[in-house]
Amino acid sequence: MRIVKDTDIDFIGNRRLAITISISLIIIGLIFLFIHKGPNFGIDFKGGTLMELRFKEPVMVSDIRASLSKINLGDSEIKEFGSSREILIRTMEKEEGTEISDLIKETLKKDFPDNPFEEERLEKVGPKIGSELIRRAIWSILIAMLFILIYISWRFEFIFAIGAIIALFHDVLITLGAFFIFNKEFNLPIVAAILTIVGYSLNDTIVVYDRIRENLKVLRKEKYTYIINRSINQTLSITLITSLTTLTVVIVLFVAGGEVINNFAFALLIGIIVGTYSSIFIASPVLIEWQNWREQKKKRKTM
């Protein structure tokens, strides 16, 4: 069986369109970031308290909210989590060591005497550790990219590494954009997901690059643009199938992995799709643009 037969699609010719789409997506993400007034940081980054309570009987979120409105929680989020018996409460920590969780539990015990609850999860993160984590997260993503830049420069050429890094930024920005658009919560596992995307979305790019490297030797007489377009077409089935198998398990995780894993799987889902797209439409065109720029420079010199 073959999904992709021998193709001869002009990917390079359509690169301007692809770049326009990508930039638009990034801009849309930024617009939503602006609309939602910044990223929706979870307690891992912002500090605060998160509680997951499992009640014996189903409860209404509005009842919980009414009960807790008495204690002035401030900026808080109360929602169903998985089922109508499970409630998730997220509040901001006022300062280091404030025992908001005890206050919440006492209040709910008083207001729901016939519906006892169990504390499934309680997470408290001080604001200090939170802001520290944001810094560390950004640093680790940049460090990972730096090492990748070095590795690809060593194995290929420097310009290939630049192409790969541009594709990576593209993938990360669009994945982040998806989070901005749906106003999904950013927490530690999302950083893990983004780092995974950084590593994995490169796989496809490397497959294409590897073929380009090979074809540059075999098809020496052909034009640069042709070689690149040919390489993309030749590796198209590999690119699609490898992404497909990984996407399959990520979709399973997204659907069946449970609430905790859900956002994490969502990030991977977007990241893998975008990563596949960028290895075809972003990473390779960079090489062309570079080549064009160099030729023009040479021409100008000889003139």
Partner: protein, 650 residues
């Protein structure tokens, strides 16, 4: 060629053998039912096996994860031998700068002192003797404080009896405590977070207390009137004493005189309240004596607990307000330099309507004796001697000879007076000294139950932290959530595995089956390596394994697609397989190295559960290189060598 493959077969069989060997304990542990676990004959065996099995992270097993940080500003304050206005100013400024810049507190402290040309050596006597730079000295002390805290925490947790706890230092300042299967969160928090600084301090004389209270009352009245815009009438300032009518009220339960007012009313206006920067979360009313409130705003918040030795009681509701008032800078100035207000740990009295009263005491700043002299502490039931502790849980303590000597001297010099016994600045009991105590015995009371007394005895035996620790992160997962996570994770893995396997067979036919064998081996290897290194499996870790299922076949896809291409050019089956593997190898290597780079960075960055994801992902990638390249290759070679294939099913 053949010899090379014999070698490969041996490697593969050895790998499978060891994998199954390391996985056996995990498999065995999983097969035990809850009944088996309660069976005393099996418990020992199960514990033994669990030591060799894959460890479950707290998010799967349930338990508590705490990150502690030593309170450095407090440590610096404790270490200073001279403390003046300038010192406190420097300290609070350094705290502010640290919050903004997230730098190292001690470096900031030193830099600020330099900028302000403050000689730090002046404040740290003991340091001057050692001839070291003040900041170096403080850094050394900070390190010691963390190490000591680590040691104390180990002792506390061991005495408390938690199975398989983990207490580790992280960086230079932090300590990570993991307590699996803990049930009572609040108790665990107390066990870990209590500084356990025990102090014996003399109370100030009642006349001094009365005059301080009176001063505060008059100050507050002036301020309130100012806030309300009422012109000050100095002649009417009360010559106040705590009104004895209050006493009758508490005892004769006439709550009708009490009324609830808002905090804004107490301070005169909303703005005045905001100025106090009081935390207004929760109930924001106070209860005051309506008869005296107009004249005496501060006194109206207090009650006289004559039944408790003529001491000051504060109704529960008023505690935050009184604390706020006592914290106001202008009020602080009215408190004698050598004294400080402290609170009882729990309500000392509960009136018939259910309102609890905390006791407010004015004690000397310098302690007569501290917890370092304590040699033992035991939870006990109070005997009939003391009316307040008879039949109640208490903790009895014995002191070393040095402590006993001082205790004997202090008690004999203060017969008839009260001595407060404080733990972490809270008064547990403040008995009246009846006679000289020569044997170094003392006891504290005020605990509400025996468990609490036992916990207190543990922390007193383990000793006190050099400086308080703050719990800066706390994550607790209930046991049922962990079981739920495992169930969902396992199902996702099975579904994902089946889907990938089905796809590979559908798409690559017989070759797909070979790839699936490799995939299955890959999962076995990943689990075996986790078990072999006794690594911890977390929920993100499970996600990492599931992700590996999807990624592991990538290498085979690369190889197979390449073989197909080679076949299309008309090469023989053998030659196509050879070319496919050799050409794809470089690509597979490059692609996996980049993923591995990020997995390793992830491990470095990660905390707790995220580390688990980095681990499983890294192991998965490395194992997949072996299974997808080596294992499938020998199978292909075996088939092409033993069967005369006319067509390769790929």
């Amino acid at each position: 060629m053949r010899r090379k493959n014999t070698f490969r077969w041996i490697i593969i069989f050895l790998a499978v053998f060891f994998a199954l060997y390391y996985l056996y304990p995990t498999y065995k542990v999983e097969t035990y039912t809850q009944e088996d676990r309660n069976n005393p004959a099996l418990v020992g065996k199960i514990t033994e096996l669990e030591k060799k099995a894959i460890k479950r992270g707290l998010d799967l097993k349930g338990g508590m994860h705490l990150v502690l940080e030593v309170d450095l500003p407090k440590l610096v304050e404790n270490l200073a031998s001279v403390k003046d206005e300038k010192f406190y100013q420097l300290l609070s400024e350094a705290i502010k700068v640290e919050k903004e810049t997230k730098g190292d507190f001690l470096d900031i402290f030193g830099k600020l002192a330099n900028e302000k040309k403050i000689k730090l050596n002046r404040y740290f006597e003991s340091e001057r003797r050692a001839g070291k730079n003040a900041i170096d000295y403080l850094k050394n002390e900070a390190k010691d404080a963390v190490d000591k805290a680590l040691q104390i925490l180990r002792s506390r947790v061991n005495q408390f009896g938690v199975s398989e706890p983990s207490i580790q230092k992280e960086g230079s300042r932090r300590i990570i405590v993991e307590l699996p299967g803990i049930q009572n969160i609040n108790r665990a928090r107390e066990l870990i977070g209590k500084t356990a600084r025990l102090e014996f301090r003399l109370l100030k004389d009642p006349e001094v207390v009365n005059s301080v209270i009176k001063d505060i009352n008059n100050l507050l009245k002036r301020q309130r009137n100012k806030a309300k815009g009422i012109k000050e009438d100095t002649t009417k300032l009360a010559e106040a004493k705590i009104d004895s009518t209050d006493t009758t009220k508490v005892e004769a339960k006439k709550p009708s005189k009490d009324e609830e007012i808002s905090l804004a009313e107490l301070f005169g206006s909303k703005e005045a309240l905001d100025n106090t920067q009081m935390d207004t979360t929760g109930d924001t009313t106070v209860v005051v004596d309506a008869q005296t409130f107009g004249e005496d705003p501060f006194l109206a918040l207090l009650r006289n607990l004559s039944s408790y030795g003529g001491s000051i009681g504060v109704p529960e509701k008023n505690v935050p307000a009184v604390k706020t008032i006592l914290n106001m800078p202008e009020v602080k100035k009215l408190i004698p330099k050598d004294a400080t207000f402290v609170w009882s740990y729990a309500p000392v009295y509960t009136d018939p309507s259910g309102t609890g009263y905390y006791e407010l005491l004015l004690v000397k700043k310098d302690a007569e004796l501290d917890g370092s002299v304590i040699t033992n502490a035991q939870a006990d039931i109070g005997s009939g001697y003391s009316p307040t502790s008879a039949g109640m849980p208490i903790v009895t303590m014995s002191m070393n000879s040095y402590g006993s000597r001082i205790w004997s001297r202090v008690t004999s010099a203060n017969v008839g007076k009260r001595i407060a016994i404080l733990l972490d600045d809270q008064v547990y009991s403040a008995p009246v000294v009846r006679t000289r105590i020569a044997d170094g015995r003392s006891s504290i009371e005020g605990m509400s139950n025996m468990d609490e007394a036992k916990l207190l005895a543990i922390v007193l035996r383990a000793g006190a932290f050099r400086a308080p620790v703050q719990i800066i992160e706390e994550r607790t997962v209930g046991p049922s959530l962990g079981v739920d996570s495992i169930k969902k994770g396992t199902w996702s893995a099975i579904i994902g595995f089946v889907m990938v396997i089905a796809f590979m067979i559908l798409y690559y036919r017989f070759s797909g089956i070979i790839a699936n064998v490799a995939l299955l081996l890959n999962i076995i290897f990943v689990l075996a390596i986790l078990a072999g290194f006794h690594a911890t499996l977390t929920l993100p870790g499970i996600a990492g394994i599931i992700l590996t299922i999807g990624m592991a076949v990538d290498a085979n896809v690369l190889i197979f697609e390449r073989i197909r291409e080679e076949l299309r050019t008309g090469k023989t089956i053998r030659a196509s397989i050879d070319a496919g593997y050799s050409r794809a190898f470089r690509t597979i290597l490059d692609a996996n190295v980049t993923t591995l780079i990020t997995a390793i960075v992830l491990y470095q960055f990660g905390t707790g559960a995220i580390k688990g994801f980095g681990v499983t992902l890294s192991i998965g990638i490395i194992a997949s290189m072996f299974t997808a390249i080596v294992v499938t290759r020998v199978i292909f070679d075996f088939i092409t060598a033993h069967f005369a294939l006319r067509k390769l099913s790929i």
